[in-house]
């Protein structure tokens, strides 16, 4: 075999930490080493010289090609290998490299560059680094310089081959290198490139730098420009498409990502990563069946050829895990077509969650926007919805009916943009459609009444949301009613017991809620300029949900002044508003009046009991709560109700009533009952802990005897003691958990919550004595 000389060419600046490692990785295979030092202040040159390199000094002029070409000028070997100082040749690649340079025919080789990221992931990208030493082969480009174009001027692609030689690149590992300095340098060089030289590769590089700076929007702009200017045959094409698609995912631009994927899967038809990305796109949109099918297809494909970039793990889940996860959510489409109708305005905070919750079951999603100024329309579009924009004419029925006009499915499911269909309810929707037992169904709407969304503070109401298409129309500008199409006939919807919609009322900001209330208020005032009871009812209701309770009480007062008393919800809203503003006697009066008309409406009895309790009428309060327990829960299909008033909420209220009367054992019994009900367990356990001071049984024994001993309850007890200032008991409780290992995130959150309570409690105690102590400002 004829010996061929290999020249290792490098450029370096302040690479004393790396250059020795790089040169020695060739184990003497290079016949000459040429290092162009562009102004090192450290021992770079010294180390290079000690390893037998020829060192040439040049002033750095923000031009990589110039420096690289200077090294090529000096090279005498038959072949040139160029490496960066922060690279290292894998030892196992040495024989292959030796073989390549003795092979006749090829002019150049791509070698595999393995990049390690800070997260420990590996990205393998082919790079043209090995080529015959000819004076006509020179680098071009001030940055991300390339040699391939000059080779292709003389030979075609067939003379440029892939190889298995591998080089490890440390440059992207943020732990090891000063990334920000490198980015700044690269940006400076790129900015100085004249306009006429800015090609697809330029914009790809610029996009990459922006991506490294986490400026996603800017990166996308440049990648898009690059995609338009890039010939698919360019080496960087596949990785750019992959980066762009990933970026589009991060920006929520799924439809755009899907379009790019469809286009480029046709061009790079053997690049399997694009297939996987297509599956992921559907997965992220909530289209699990499609996602599962595509990812399965990906797993059946042969591996991508070597010239495509390979990433060790660019996903947090493996394809197999994704398939499993998709299968859990996937639904077989063996039911009539279902159209989802959503209307909204400025609903960016919740709309994506809303659409993703129904994407799997929907045949069509219709989103009617009435003039959003946020990204609502874009979000809906990207998630696959048909988006229509119509002017707001202060009439909800117009908008709802417009949505119905666009719906193609046999069935309609109506959602508000701030609502979500829980996964358990998706199956209930399908069951209801398939059973066809009714043309319309009344579904449960869960609404949280505070931002904490605590289980105790939910409201339950019924609403007709699922019905056959082309059968019903909306009527009424606000609180629109459904009527049979073409008549005024009222229909009786069938109740569904497992179909629930959750209202994400408080996931939006309070400002947003208030803004929505103003739209409604405006609509109401436009419709009813004169004083009518319905106007005050609607205004009161809106004020109530916007937590403007005094205003709500005022509106309902006017409603009742007009002599109306046939709406159960009005009694509910008014009583609750009066309680909230401290008018307990009036609340009792209104609620008791309501009880006469609606004797099976438990919530009114419950609210009466609450008002009695707050008014200091303990016996009466006790009577009401016992009555609630007898009555059980109110019928949600008939009344607006709060879950638990006929059950655990009554128990939780009865306990403190007993405590106030000194009937501690009865209080304990009531709390123990409530502690065994999941919705009230936490509060009941806290009550039990608070009661422990007056009891003779230690809390842990009490919990253990009642089968309530677990880590959650123990922390709740500890927290109750901490709040009460009994820290020693709090620590004691924690010791009960000494033998337990809990890996759940909730445990972490609760422990941190407990620690913060303890700090807060100690601070509170200290503030009483030394309010101005300097340490307090650090607590």
């Amino acid at each position: 075999m004829e010996h061929k000389c290999l020249s290792l060419c490098m450029i370096a600046k302040n690479e004393a930490e790396n250059i020795g490692r790089c040169i020695s990785s060739l184990r003497g295979l290079a016949d000459e080493i040429i290092v162009v030092d562009t102004g090192s202040m450290d021992r770079t040159s010294e180390i290079a010289l000690s390893q037998g390199a020829k060192v040439i000094h040049m002033k750095w002029e923000d031009d990589f090609s110039k420096a690289r070409n200077l090294s090529l000028e000096q090279a005498k070997g038959d072949w040139v290998l160029y490496l960066d100082c922060d690279e290292e040749l894998y030892a196992e690649s040495l024989p292959e490299l030796e073989k390549l340079i003795t092979t006749e025919g090829p002019e150049a080789y791509f070698i595999q560059i393995v990049n390690t990221t800070a997260e420990g992931m590996e990205l393998t990208v082919p790079g043209l680094r090995l080529f015959r030493n000819r004076k006509e082969y020179r680098f071009t480009g001030c940055i991300h310089e390339q040699i391939l174009p000059s080779i292709l001027q003389h030979y075609d692609h067939s003379r440029v081959l892939q190889s298995n030689v591998m080089v490890h690149h440390f440059g992207y590992n943020q732990k090891l290198t000063n990334i920000s300095a490198k980015i700044q340098r690269n940006m400076r060089i790129l900015e100085n490139i004249p306009e006429e030289q800015r090609d697809g590769f330029y914009y790809y590089n610029l996009g990459t730098e922006y991506l490294r700076l986490c400026k996603r929007e800017e990166a996308l702009v440049h990648f898009t420009k690059s995609a338009a200017l890039t010939n698919p045959g360019q080496g960087y094409g596949p990785i750019m498409i992959k980066r762009m698609v990933t970026l589009l995912f991060e920006l929520g631009k799924y439809r755009q990502a899907q379009q790019y994927l469809e286009h480029y899967r046709g061009i790079y038809n053997d690049y399997t990563d694009l297939v996987l990305l297509a599956g992921i796109c559907h997965f992220m949109c909530g289209r699990y069946s499609e996602a599962g099918n595509i990812i399965k297809e990906y797993l059946g494909l042969p591996p991508s050829p070597q010239w495509y970039p390979i990433e060790s793990a660019f996903l947090t889940q493996t394809p197999e895990e994704l398939i499993e996860s998709a299968a859990q959510h996937a639904i077989i489409r063996d039911y009539p077509a279902l159209s989802i109708c959503i209307i909204g305005k400025n609903e960016a905070a919740t709309l994506a969650t809303c659409i993703k919750s129904v994407n799997e079951i929907a045949s069509q999603i219709v989103y009617i926007d009435t003039g959003s100024t946020d990204k609502s329309r874009e979000i809906a579009f990207e998630l696959g919805a048909e988006v229509y924009t119509i002017p707001w004419e202060h009439d909800f029925s117009i908008v709802r009916n417009y949505a119905l006009d666009q719906a193609q499915g046999e069935w309609i499911l109506v959602l508000d943009a701030d609502e979500v269909l829980p996964e358990t309810s998706a199956m209930a929707v399908i069951r209801a459609i398939k059973s066809e037992s009714s043309p319309a169904y009344l579904v449960k709407i869960h609404t949280p009444l505070d931002q904490n969304q605590s289980a105790q503070n939910w409201q339950l109401s019924g609403s007709v949301r699922l019905y056959r298409n082309k059968m019903l129309r909306y009527q009424g500008v606000l609180a629109e009613e459904l009527l049979f199409k073409g008549s005024d006939a009222i229909f009786e919807p069938e109740l569904t017991y497992d179909l629930e919609i959750v209202h994400l009322h408080f996931q939006s900001s309070l400002e947003h809620v208030s803004e929505k209330r103003k739209i409604w208020e405006d609509t109401i005032l436009r419709k009813w300029s004169e004083d009518t009871p319905v106007k005050y009812f609607l205004l009161g209701k809106e004020a109530f949900y916007a937590q403007e309770t005094p205003k709500a009480a005022e509106y309902f007062s006017r409603y009742f002044e007009a002599g109306f008393s046939n709406d159960s919800a009005a009694f509910y809203y008014y009583t609750l508003s009066l309680i909230n503003i401290g008018q307990y006697e009036q609340a009792i009066k209104i609620a008791e009046e309501g009880q006469k008309t609606f004797p099976d409406y438990t919530d009114l009895f419950y609210l009466t009991g609450i008002a009695y309790g707050l008014n200091g009428q303990v016996k009466e309060a006790e009577g009401m709560m016992l009555e609630c327990l007898k009555m059980g829960e109110a019928a949600w299909g008939r009344y607006l109700c709060s879950p638990g008033t006929g059950h655990y909420k009554a128990l939780l209220s009865l306990g403190p009533i007993y405590v106030r009367q000194g009937r501690l054992h009865e209080a304990v019994n009531v709390f123990l009952q409530a502690a065994k009900i999941p919705q009230s367990s936490e509060q009941a356990v806290a009550h039990l802990a608070a009661l422990q001071g007056g009891m003779t049984i230690p809390i842990d024994i009490l919990l253990k005897n009642q089968g309530l001993f677990n880590w959650r309850n123990t922390i709740i007890v500890a927290q109750t003691f901490a709040k009460m200032g009994n820290r020693m008991k709090s620590w004691e409780c924690l010791r009960l958990l000494d033998d337990q290992t809990v890996d759940q995130p909730e445990f972490l959150d609760r422990m941190i919550g407990l620690v913060e309570t303890l700090v807060f409690n100690v601070k509170g105690q200290l503030v009483q004595h030394t309010p101005d102590h300097p340490i307090l400002k650090y607590v």
Binding site: T741, D749, V755, V762
Partner: protein, 494 residues
């Protein structure tokens, strides 16, 4: 800002650091840092000094951030590993802390030119020993001890670590063999450490093996007394009287050994032969009178004698004759039994017997006459034994009783933070890589260090620099004790 101004600010920072005024140090150092490029030749030095200053100030979160910034620029800087290890140690994240100390000792070359060859590894080994002990890995602790010794550590750190090891479940014989064979510790220091850790049997063996009984007769007698071998004590004392004049302590030991016999024996025959002007002799005669004549003894005005009587009572209490100890205090102080508990408790605290102090002071607490100082001492004693939740309550009570005292609130939060860190780390072992937990620990760690720093400043002002350097004066993994090490590094550097 020109280079002269930068140098001037740097010198000011150095000046204030030497004065332990870290607030001012930070002020001037920040100016220098702000005007230094991250790749400047002095940048690494500044990363280290600035991080250390922040750490000293208790700004743990900021210090950690600076260290990490420094490591991103200089990934192999061993000194930054060291500070990172310290911060993680303070956060209770011992696994992670250990990793950084191991890295510190693994990297042989310092990038800090002025420090090259000057910084030893023993500081890191001392932490590694403490971590190993805390994890119950005693073999590993001994391994690190050997390495620690090979680095020629300072005596103070060595003594602290030996005490930690002696109080742990480590194989004491192996430990002593290492210490004796390495010649790193003096014989007297070793014997004293064994006494402090109440290893009386081992201490007697060591004295015997050293063949220096005559040099350690006081320690030998103490051990025998604690082991209840009164006759051997008396025989020994009779044996050495011809050789040496009976020292003051020996007189007391002799008397105590006689009084603790059953029935009690008088020591008057020996006492009368000694110099009657000695305070110790007078104190013993006073007690003799109390025991054997049941007389209300004469009033003692000499303050030295008073102190000696309290010390004797404490010794008797520790040796187990509680009734006699209280009789002495009650008759001497003319006080109630409850007050006698408190009085003896204060004496125990001042003599470093925290366990006894805790028991006695707790029994002596009186709702009628609550003394904040007693609660303070109880807090320290409890903290010394790791019962931080109890210590916290005592400090809080002290703070409530004496609101004008500025130290007590600092102690409250220092102790609270230690306790909270301990609980979080113990209970959330599987979450130690979780960012939320790390942030919470860092917040608590900052509170701990801030409280400590503030306390030290107040104590310095109040006591003219003689404040407690560390409230929990042993190498407890939950408290920060390595101040001496930090000082040593900085001094070398500056």
């Amino acid at each position: 800002m020109d280079s002269k101004e930068i140098i001037s600010n740097y010198k000011l920072a150095q000046y204030f650091y030497k004065r332990e005024d870290y607030e001012q140090t930070r002020r001037y150092l920040k100016i220098v840092v702000d005007h230094t490029h991250p790749r400047d030749e002095h940048a690494l030095q500044l990363y280290w000094e600035y991080s250390l200053c922040l750490y000293k100030l208790g700004e743990c979160a900021e210090a950690l951030s600076k260290v990490e910034e420094g490591l991103s620029q200089y990934p192999d800087c061993r000194e930054l590993f060291y500070i990172k290890g310290q911060i993680y140690y303070e956060m209770g994240l011992l696994r992670q802390s250990k990793d950084f100390f191991v890295k510190f000792v693994a990297v042989k070359t310092s990038f800090l030119k002025c420090m090259e060859g000057m910084v030893t590894n023993y500081e890191a080994y001392s932490y590694l020993i403490a971590i190993s002990v805390s994890n119950g890995k005693y073999e590993e602790a001994l391994h690190y001890l050997r390495l620690f010794i090979s680095e020629k550590p300072d005596i103070s750190t060595l003594n602290k670590l030996c005490l930690l090891l002696l109080r742990s479940g480590i194989d004491k014989q192996t430990l002593i063999e290492i210490l004796v064979s390495s010649n790193v510790i003096s014989e007297i220091a070793l014997v004293q450490l064994l006494l402090m850790s109440k290893e009386y049997g081992i201490c007697l063996d060591v004295i015997k093996n050293l063949r220096r009984e005559n040099n350690f007769y006081a320690e030998w007698i103490q051990c025998q007394l604690h082991l209840g071998r009164y006759n051997e004590v008396q025989n020994m004392i009779y044996g050495i009287i011809p050789l040496i004049s009976m020292g003051r302590d020996i007189a007391i030991y002799y008397c105590v050994s006689r009084w603790l016999e059953t029935p009690r024996q008088s020591s008057r025959d020996v006492l009368v032969k000694l110099d009657g002007n000695l305070a110790e002799v007078q104190a013993c005669l006073w007690i003799e009178e109390l025991i054997f004549n049941n007389n209300s003894p004469i009033e003692l005005s000499d303050i030295n004698i008073q102190d000696i009587i309290k010390k004797i009572a404490l010794t008797i209490y520790i040796l187990g004759d509680i009734c006699l100890a209280f009789d002495i205090i009650q008759n001497y102080c003319l006080c109630s039994r409850k007050e006698a508990y408190a009085e003896l408790g204060r004496e125990a605290f001042d003599s470093g017997f925290f366990n006894e102090a805790k028991t006695l002071l707790e029994r002596g607490l009186s709702q009628k006459d609550e003394k904040p100082e007693d609660y303070y001492k109880l807090g320290i004693a409890c903290g010394g034994f790791g019962t931080y939740e109890q210590a916290l309550e005592y400090f809080l009570r002290a703070a409530a009783l004496l609101p004008e005292n500025q130290v007590y609130p600092c102690l409250v939060f220092e102790t609270l933070a230690i306790q909270e860190i301990r609980i979080l780390v113990e209970k959330l072992d599987s979450f130690t890589e979780n960012l939320t937990l790390k942030n919470e620990l860092l917040r608590l760690c900052t509170l701990k260090r801030k409280s400590k720093r503030l306390r030290q400043i107040i104590e310095q002002e109040e006591t003219d620099g003689k404040g407690l350097a560390d409230i929990y004066n042993h190498f407890d993994v939950w408290s920060c004790v390595n101040d001496i090490n930090e000082e040593a590094i900085w001094n070398i550097n500056v």
